[in-house]
């Protein structure tokens, strides 16, 4: 298997490491704008990883050079901050499966629009394959499969991976949130709508806010029957008060602990049912692992269908996917017991 890893930052580096632990990976091409980061990744991985430069300042120039590099690749993992739409289309047209870790709403919309190209090429375009979205979508699908009907899906997350993720977290609070409410798309001001959510221990209860997150979009494709789909982001008072400003200080190289929580409401055997799933991990580690497993599944043709979509749409055997993640150290949990207003 020949794999191209575009972006070897906090998440990409973890994805590369997970891929190399799979014996089927015979060639790992790392494309990274920061030469030091690229060299460190190759030094850390050893053979068969290698660095390839894609020169050019303009997207068009980089794209032309990307076509030469992606030729013959089975899988492309996009974990850089930019270029997802253009490079994903180029990779699909060259005959590779594509995994994107982006959680930018505009990027996610553009990638889903590549569905017809992915179908035409009989390839998978996995959108939002990270911790949240990504792992959150698989958990939602896994829970929904144990219910007769799902009416509501509510996702919350805390923590950030690398610097790109921290910048996206900042932008998410500044931009409007898009939620599914009573079967309609409704926007809400980023940073508003505080709700207390309980994450797996030791994170516990945190205030979460409306933010521009792609989960409602991705989960609506997976569960069109759900009338309410929301996503919230844990944030501090400083996060919210400085959301209008540029980031006041440089993001940390990598965030610490992160968590995701998925609450499902619906019916099962004629009774109202609420299921709550969660996970706790370093977001970059979990995101990289999800991206790697998603890519390996694509090459194994293990998805329900070809085309573009989230893991909630493409993964049919959620138990097997969660088992694969668990083997790689990314584990999920379920909340058991009586819940208060927000479990």
């Amino acid at each position: 298997m020949k794999v191209l890893l575009y972006g070897a930052g906090a998440t990409g580096a973890r994805a590369g490491r997970q891929l190399l632990s799979n014996a089927a990976v015979e060639d790992l091409i790392i494309v990274e704008t920061d030469q030091t980061v690229a060299d460190n990744a190759v030094l850390s991985y050893g053979s068969p990883a290698r660095v390839v430069k894609i020169p050019g300042q303009r997207t068009e120039t980089r794209l032309a050079n990307f076509f030469d590099v992606v030729d013959g690749c089975d899988l492309v993992i996009l974990s850089a901050e930019d270029d997802h739409e253009a490079f994903a289309e180029a990779a699909l047209r060259s005959g590779a499966h594509v995994v994107s870790t982006s959680d930018d709403v505009d990027v996610v919309e553009d990638l889903i629009a590549l569905d017809s190209i992915a179908h035409e090429m009989n390839k998978s375009m996995i959108v939002g394959a990270a911790f949240s979205p990504g792992f959150s979508c698989v958990l939602a699908k896994h829970g929904v499969r144990k219910m007769d009907r799902v009416d509501e899906v509510h996702v919350a997350r805390m923590g950030t991976g690398g610097p790109s993720c921290a910048r996206q977290h900042h932008r998410s609070l500044r931009n409007d949130a898009l939620n599914r409410v009573d079967g309609e798309w409704v926007t809400a001001r980023g940073g508003s709508g505080r709700e207390l959510f309980w994450f797996p221990d030791p994170v516990g209860g945190l205030d979460c806010y409306q933010a521009s997150l792609p989960e409602p979009l991705l989960l609506h494709d997976a569960f069109p029957q759900a009338s309410r789909i929301t996503a919230r982001l844990a944030a501090t008072r400083r996060d919210r008060s400085t959301k209008w400003l540029p980031m006041l200080r440089k993001p940390h190289p990598e965030g610490l602990l992160g968590a995701v929580r998925v609450e499902l409401r619906g019916t099962h055997e004629g009774r109202a049912e609420t299921r709550v799933y969660g996970a706790l991990d370093r977001p970059a580690v979990a995101a990289g692992t999800v991206a790697a497993v998603a890519g390996i599944w694509a090459v194994r043709v293990a998805y329900a269908r070809s085309g573009a979509g989230s893991l909630g749409v493409l993964v049919d055997d959620t138990a097997a996917f969660l088992k694969d993640l668990s083997t790689c150290g990314v584990r999920a949990a379920v909340f058991e017991g009586h819940t208060s207003s927000h479990g």
Partner: protein, 48 residues
């Protein structure tokens, strides 16, 4: 009403509001929603 008087009244009103808000913030009791139960790692039968 002179400008100075208006400013003085505004400052006094804001001051009183701040004191009341601070008193309520410190002394009011907010009930933290309780959760009865716990998290369990998915395993075995959960993957069926």
């Amino acid at each position: 009403m002179s400008m100075i008087s208006a400013i003085r009244r505004t400052v006094v009103a804001l001051g009183i509001a701040s004191v009341v808000a601070a008193y309520l913030r410190v002394n009011s009791e907010s009930e933290v929603p309780t959760s009865d139960g716990g998290w369990r790692e998915l395993s075995g039968p959960d993957f069926d």
